[in-house]
């Protein structure tokens, strides 16, 4: 059976401001382009989607796990990463 209804809407949209940490500093930038890849590598008809983002002023590719929708959410994201340390 084929996958259905993919790709799903990305978490962050083109034109939205996102918050992230780069080289130890908090930053914010606008999403310039999103890139979604859909595959079904495990052949279970679910379809795996990987979203990546290009931000204005940055050449790096960013992933959902690196980006937050607000300063407060970035703090939460950072705290969760610290809390997850062994």
């Amino acid at each position: 059976m084929p996958v259905t209804n993919k790709p799903s809407v990305t978490t962050h949209q083109v034109g939205a401001t996102v918050f992230f940490i780069l080289n130890g500093f908090p930053k914010q930038a606008v999403v310039e382009q999103t890139f979604s890849e859909v595959q079904d590598a495990d052949n279970n008809n679910t379809g795996e989607q990987v979203d990546s983002y290009y931000l204005k002023g940055y050449s790096e590719k960013f992933y959902n796990s690196q980006l937050a929708t607000s300063k407060a959410n970035l703090k939460t994201l950072f705290n969760n990463l610290v809390d997850a340390m062994p």
Binding site: K6, T10, Q13, F35
Partner: protein
């Protein structure tokens, strides 16, 4: 304003068998990966989505414009016109279920006595002035009977308008 609800669902899905054109050859294979790129080049909050398809045993990415639901539709693109002129054909009391008539000129054809139309594919076909069975002689009845995927925006209905309008 940021875009909303992007990317949209792609026309074709991973796992479907579809036909693509490469170097003027029509090749049928399974879609293994789809890439969707979204940006807003005109900054008008509408956004532009570019979909690219990867097929089994095909290393090159294929743009959506070169991917087709049926091999007939790929051949129609290569030919630059309907692949078969069946205009005026009387299909009699035949069961036309599952018959692929996509990409064909079916104008003035007679489907009034057919015993079935389920999944008869008329994507990209021209049904202008065709006579339909009484049970399927409106756009809604016909589309419901043949089912989604068996017609598209390029299907011309009996009245000469797009079937999807």
């Amino acid at each position: 304003m940021p875009l909303t609800n992007k990317p949209a669902v792609t026309k074709f899905q991973v796992g479907q068998t579809r036909t693509y054109i490469k170097e003027r050859r029509a090749i049928t294979a399974v879609i293994t990966k789809i890439e969707s790129q979204v940006n807003d080049p005109f900054n008008d909050s509408n956004g532009k989505q570019i979909n690219t398809y990867y097929f089994a045993n095909e290393p090159s990415p294929i743009p959506e414009a070169d991917v087709f639901a049926t091999s007939n539709l790929a051949l129609k693109k290569l030919k630059g016109g309907y692949i078969l002129d069946l205009s005026g054909t009387d299909f009699g009391a035949n069961d036309m279920s599952n018959v692929d008539l996509s990409g064909c000129n079916l104008s003035n054809c007679d489907f009034s006595a057919v015993t079935g139309l389920a999944f008869m594919n008329v994507s990209g076909s021209n049904l202008t002035d065709a006579t339909m069975h009484d049970d399927y002689d409106t756009k809604a009845e016909f589309m419901n009977e043949v089912g989604s995927g068996a017609f598209d925006d390029d299907t011309i209905w009996t009245d000469g308008t797009k079937i999807t309008l």
